[in-house]
């Protein structure tokens, strides 16, 4: 494991990324904006309403939603240029003639692409300490939120990386990665609602009231929708109430974890310069 993290590609990428002042400016600006939003809302709340400690999770929800939006926006883009960027810079072929295997290249790329966004999330954790002051959330919720963010970052990063390996141009790969991420975040929710309503309309005598939403297939689809899972973690209910056979965050983490693994393995396969011809994909 130590060998992996000291592998030359990770060292080089980290060196390149953290050597530029731009990285630190972005980090500073991000914390400034997030902090300003948070402090601004705290200020407004103090002016306009009576605060009851232990009963106020609005700020937590707001901060989590903003940060999740940021993850959806940044994570696919960070990795969508990882391989196509090498191809465009004409350094990929050289890299492939070294002893770095395609799998190692892909793993290094995902680690280095996502290191920055993880840094953003980790450095913003102190902001949550403000929120904890106001109560209304438990440490478990905070940890679950962190897990949820990590799973999403890895999955969106894997989508970006897969598109980057699959497509030649970074521009096309970024748009495709955004499209696929959008489907996961919004599309799964829409499909869930559409299918539920469709089944209910088709068999109104079988599925009275809300029973249709607890059909296994429909429920599993809901568990794949990040906003739904986020709302469950935050204790805010959006959509129908579902009975889960396991914690929904665990189900979500397993599904997105497996999806990430498949995408990473697929990327490593696509990166191989000479592939088996019966399953060749034009690169």
């Amino acid at each position: 494991m130590t060998d992996f993290f000291t592998n030359p590609l990770i060292v080089k990428e980290m060196r390149e990324r953290f050597r530029t002042p731009k990285t630190f400016w972005i980090l500073g600006l991000y914390l400034l904006v997030m902090g300003a939003i948070l402090l601004g809302f705290i200020f407004i709340q103090q002016m306009n309403s009576y605060i009851s400690p232990g009963d106020n999770s609005e700020l937590f929800v707001m901060l989590a939603v903003i940060q999740y939006g940021m993850i959806c926006f940044i994570a696919p883009a960070l990795s969508a240029g990882a391989i196509s960027g090498e191809r465009e810079r004409q350094t990929l072929n050289i890299l492939l003639t070294t002893h770095l295997s395609p799998a190692k290249i892909i793993m290094s790329k995902i680690v280095t692409s996502l290191a920055f966004i993880f840094l953003l999330v980790v450095t913003s954790l102190p902001l949550y300490s403000f929120v904890i002051l106001y109560g209304g959330i438990s440490p478990t919720q905070l940890l679950l939120l962190l897990l949820f963010f990590s799973v999403n970052i890895i999955c969106f990063g894997s989508i970006g990386l897969f598109c980057s390996t699959w497509m030649k141009r970074t521009g096309v790969s970024t748009i495709t990665a955004y499209g696929l991420s959008f489907f996961l975040v919004v599309g799964t929710g829409l499909v869930f609602i559409f299918l539920g309503m469709l089944i209910q309309q088709m068999y109104p005598e079988v599925y009275v009231d809300e029973t249709v939403w607890n059909l296994l297939g429909i429920k599993l689809l809901a568990g794949m929708n990040p906003p739904y899972v986020l709302s469950e973690i935050l204790g805010e209910n959006i959509g129908p109430k579902l009975d889960w056979f396991m914690p929904v965050w665990a189900y979500f983490s397993i599904i997105y974890g497996v999806l990430s693994l498949i995408l990473i393995a697929g990327s490593a396969y696509l990166l191989r310069p000479v592939r088996r011809t019966w399953f060749a994909w034009k690169k």
């Binding site: 030359p8 080089k12 810079r89 072929n93 003639t97 002893h99 310069p273 000479v274």
Partner: protein
Amino acid sequence: MIRTENLTKHYGKLHALNDLNLEIGKGKVFGFIGPNGAGKSTTMMILSTLLGPTSGRAYVAGYDVIKEPKDVRQVLGYMPDFFGVYDNLKATEYLDFYAGAYNIPHSKRSNLIADLLELVNLSNKADAYVDSLSRGMKQRLGLARCLVHSPEVLILDEPASGLDPRARIEMREILKKLRSMGKTIIISSHILPELAELCDDIGVIEKGNLIACGSVDEVSVETRGIAVMQLKTLDKLEETERILAASPLVKRLDNKGSHFRFHFTGNDSDKAGLLMKLVQEGIPVLHFGDSKENLEDVFLAITEGVGN
């Protein structure tokens, strides 16, 4: 050291390479000549394990490029015709990265990098950012990068392309050093005269077919019966031109003002006969011999009509 057997590569309907058979011995420098799209880069990419052939086999140092790509990569250094460099890395860091990528231990790297920079005359640029180097320097750094794991075989695709004359000469000197180190080198170039001086053998490729292969002399004279000759006289240029033009063995006569260049299709005694005739006609001949910088002409002559 390098062998290809009926190496063929098709991209859909395009036949990039047809039944290429090559045999390059250890320590030899092999020059690949051909116009753009002839199949040189395709061959080099197959040998570098970056591309699979449609059919046929290729071996580098006895290793099959398809079945044993890892072993091939260990003995081979590849420099593509166009390659980029990483921003924000210094020359030493750039080489250190590739040394790491070839699993060279940390303890050996600093000496190795210093030696490589010395070899390619970039010692004074060790701490310069790669991005700030000139094209010629980047090209030399690329060459140093190929040598990081001390490969026996070097595959250099147009290493002198886009370089100014000075940078080209510097590159040629480095290649000569590498040749003296016993490296087996395949080099392609469209600056053909450079290959004449550097290469033991050349292969002429056009439309995916190897048209000629052998030493520079064999390819130009013995195999094809063509030599490109140069004649310099003190004066009597018009008379000289008339005599040359009248000879059936002289083709493509080119009056360069100070001298003549022409393709000669005869053998050595025919050459002697032509010289004798010139002298008998009272032409003050200063120089009569093979043109040293004639590969372009040889290339044009032997690829004439191919693919039409």
